[in-house]
């Protein structure tokens, strides 16, 4: 990862604040602005879902009690929709079962209003780090997928068998090719996938097969 891409990721990061109380939203965005963090505010879970874009990066600062869909319900919905962005909960009066539930569902932090600036910023830092890791994983996965997409059908067949541990001779027999042709395909696969060794190729394939490692880690 180069320095340049890292800053690009950082600048695109934002805190998505969802609270039905406009003054809270305003106060939070003011505070975040004063410490140099971009923020967007929404008055309800439905509103943020409407404007949601896949490229959003950063974290969510979610009030547990929202009109309509509650914060806890929204968290469940995000998982269903495949939105992997980390969530920080805030509430005026949270009970222990609620805290346990949202933390189990993968929330980064649970803040009780009014909270200290340090608590908030620490939680945001943590969430951003999670999100960065998540997006990096996603990016790598995407690049592997993109490389895979360049493979022809025959090359893909050969790759599947190579990573499954078959010998060239066996692959040739299975696909009804000569051993020389298999070797040729194999070299092309290694080139296209930017894999230096067979072990690396296996790793790449494995990664594609087990998706969303980033969220898996947190849960």
């Amino acid at each position: 990862m180069t320095e340049k891409t890292e800053t690009a990721i950082r600048t695109s990061e934002a805190v998505f604040i969802v609270d039905d109380d406009a003054s809270i939203c305003e106060g939070l965005s003011n505070l975040l602005e004063s410490v140099g963090i971009r923020s967007e505010t929404y008055s309800s879970a439905e509103a943020i879902l409407e404007d949601w874009s896949e490229s959003n990066a950063g974290c969510m600062l979610l009030d547990a009690r929202l009109p309509g869909m509650s914060g806890v319900e929204f968290q469940g919905k995000m998982q269903k929709l495949g939105i992997g962005m980390p969530v920080i909960f805030m509430t005026a009066h949270g009970d222990i079962p609620m805290v346990r539930k949202v933390m189990k569902a993968g929330a980064v932090e649970f803040l009780t209003k009014p909270f200290k600036k340090e608590e908030l910023l620490h939680a945001i830092d943590q969430a951003f780090a999670f999100d960065r890791k998540r997006r990096q994983d996603e990016e790598i996965l995407n690049s592997i997928k993109a490389r895979m997409d360049t493979l022809t059908g025959r090359e893909r067949e050969v790759m599947e068998r190579v990573t499954a541990g078959l010998l060239n001779k066996q692959i040739a027999a299975e696909l009804n090719l000569s051993e020389i042709t298999v070797k040729l395909y194999r070299r092309q696969v290694m080139d296209k996938m930017h894999a230096g060794s067979l072990a690396e190729l296996v790793k790449l394939c494995e990664r594609v097969k087990t998706p969303s490692r980033a969220t898996g880690d947190r849960a």
Partner: protein, 541 residues
């Protein structure tokens, strides 16, 4: 053979004996092959041989008697032959009678009319002989007719008797059936686990099942008429009587719930139902009634009501708690905004170079949010203003009685008798009866709890009386341990409680309710031991 048949006839002397004789004779001919010949022979026997045998017998007897008599007294004893003819006609019928006439005429002509021992008849005796024959024929006709008539009468009589017997047997049988079905019906009413009765058209109980007798400990005569109302709870009796009288008058259905005293003196709730049974002309013949024990339902219903009231009471305190939570939330929101803005303001002031615009606008926000927080506080204060008070004209004694009725079961459970000493002439008061009942309930429940640990005699006394000219005083006295004098003043303070799980709000709320009714509330230790809680409510002007 003829003789035996004659004996059978003569000795039995039954009108139907001919049949017997015929059967006997036909027994001898049983081996005859043809049924027709059997019938023929029976016909011959019936109408030929039998009359002839009878006639021959009688005439022979008459002849045998006449000879010696004639020998002793020189007189023609021909009248004996009249007897023989009469007997033959009587027993053997017309045919036999004529046979006897013929035989007698021949024998008399031969033996007793000169010239004797000759069939010839002397000229001077011809008229006598003719008279004899005429008389004999007349006797035969009369005798046989008489016999026939008698036979007919006897047959009719027998038939009648047979029919009477048959009818009697039928009656006995149907009587027995009725008795059996009645018995089964009674068994059925006994099998119903409820009290069943039947009353006459005037509503007097005529029959009741064992359950009713067992429960009330009275028999049918003790239940009949007005005496039935004695075992009703005095409170329910008028309603019951009225309902029953209306039903009797209109012939409609009767359905009333009432408490009925059992043999053990304990009242239980019953649902009484009755329907009239009408005779064919539409008049009411009977009333059939059932008393269904609904004590359990009533108790459950009452518990439900109590639970409901408790719930309402808790809901009131709950809503207070929720109000507190909502106040906290409403205050928390602006406070959170204030805090975050204040943090931001500090950041703007700390930044290099100092961002005064941002800091100033943020400070402005802080002012706005703080104002909002104070608005929340004044709104809450407005909530507690006592503008919406309920005041209606109500009877304090009624409020007390209603409450005691609701708490009756609870008191029984705790084995605490409740004594009411209510002044009869209290003025109506302007008050919120629900709130006053809430206060009373609180005091009564406290008193019961206070006595939960004390030994007998337990008693809870509720008094109502005038207090001065313009106030009504209500007191609730228990026989519990009372309270230490030094806490007398603190009893009504909020959050002060002597109970480990008490909220300390009960008496505080009670006192504030009484104060909104322009009254006072205070507590004393009773001279009998225990505590007296009393309050006054101002009478309406």
């Amino acid at each position: 053979m003829q003789r035996s048949s004659w004996r059978g006839l003569g000795f039995d002397a039954e009108p139907l004996c001919g049949r017997d004789g015929a059967r006997m004779i036909s027994g001898y001919h049983a081996n005859m092959t043809s049924a027709a010949s059997e019938r023929l022979s029976r016909l011959v026997i019936e109408h030929g041989l039998r009359p002839m045998a009878i006639a021959v017998c009688f005439v022979l007897v008459a002849l045998l008697w006449t000879f010696p008599l004639q020998h002793v007294i020189s007189y023609p004893f021909v009248f004996l032959f009249f007897g023989a003819i009469m007997g033959s006609a009587w027993f053997g019928g017309m045919v036999s009678g004529f046979m006897a006439v013929v035989a007698s005429s021949l024998l008399i002509g031969y033996f007793f009319i000169p010239p004797f021992f000759s069939a010839a008849i002397a000229k001077e005796s011809q008229s006598f002989f003719a008279a004899f024959i005429l008389c004999a024929i007349a006797i035969t006709v009369v005798s046989s007719a008489r016999k026939r008539a008698e036979n007919a009468i006897r047959e009719a009589h027998d038939e009648l008797e047979f029919k009477v017997l048959e009818r009697t047997a039928e009656l006995v049988r149907s009587n027995r059936e009725i008795q059996e079905s009645e018995r089964q019906l009674r068994l059925l009413t006994e099998a119903i686990p409820q009290q069943v009765w039947r009353a006459d058209a005037e509503g007097r109980i005529e029959h009741c099942n064992q359950h009713l007798r067992n429960y009330t400990g009275r028999n049918v005569t003790e239940l009949a008429g007005e005496s039935f109302f004695d075992i009703l709870d005095p409170e329910d009796a008028p309603l019951y009587m009225q309902g029953w009288k209306t039903a009797l008058a209109t012939g409609g259905r009767f359905e009333v719930e009432a408490r009925v005293r059992g043999a053990d003196g304990i009242y239980r709730w019953f649902l009484a139902r009755s329907i009239p049974q009408r005779s064919e002309d539409g008049k009411i013949a009977h009333w059939y009634g059932i008393h269904i024990d609904v004590e359990e339902q009533h108790r459950a219903q009452q518990n439900l009501t109590v639970a409901h009231e408790d719930l309402a009471r808790y809901a009131r305190t709950m809503s207070m708690a929720e109000m507190a939570a909502s106040i906290a939330h409403e205050l928390n929101q602006p406070l959170t905004a204030v805090v975050t803005h204040a943090y931001a303001c500090r950041e703007w002031l700390n930044s290099q170079p100092v961002n005064t615009d941002k800091a100033a606008s943020t400070a402005e926000k802080i002012v706005q949010e703080s104002t909002r927080a104070s608005a929340v506080v004044s709104r809450v204060r407005a909530l507690f203003r006592k503008d919406a008070q309920v005041r209606e004209s109500a009877d304090m004694n009624r409020v007390i009685r209603d409450l005691v009725r609701v708490l009756r079961d609870e008191a029984i459970r705790c084995e605490i008798p409740i004594r009411l000493i209510l002044s009869a002439d209290l003025p109506k008061l302007r008050m919120d009866p629900i709130q006053i009942q809430l206060v009373l309930r609180n005091l009564v429940m406290n008193a019961m709890e206070a006595m939960a640990q004390t030994a007998a005699p337990r008693e809870l006394a509720i008094r109502s009386a005038m207090h001065g000219d313009r106030e009504v005083l209500v007191s609730v006295e228990d026989r519990g341990p009372g309270f230490a004098p030094e806490i007398a003043q603190r009893l009504f303070e909020p959050f002060f409680s002597t109970k480990p799980e008490g909220t300390g709000m009960g008496l505080a709320i009670c006192r504030s309710i009484i104060e909104t009714h322009d009254g006072h509330m205070w507590a004393e230790n009773s001279p009998h031991g225990g505590a007296v809680f009393q309050f006054t409510v101002r009478a309406k002007q």
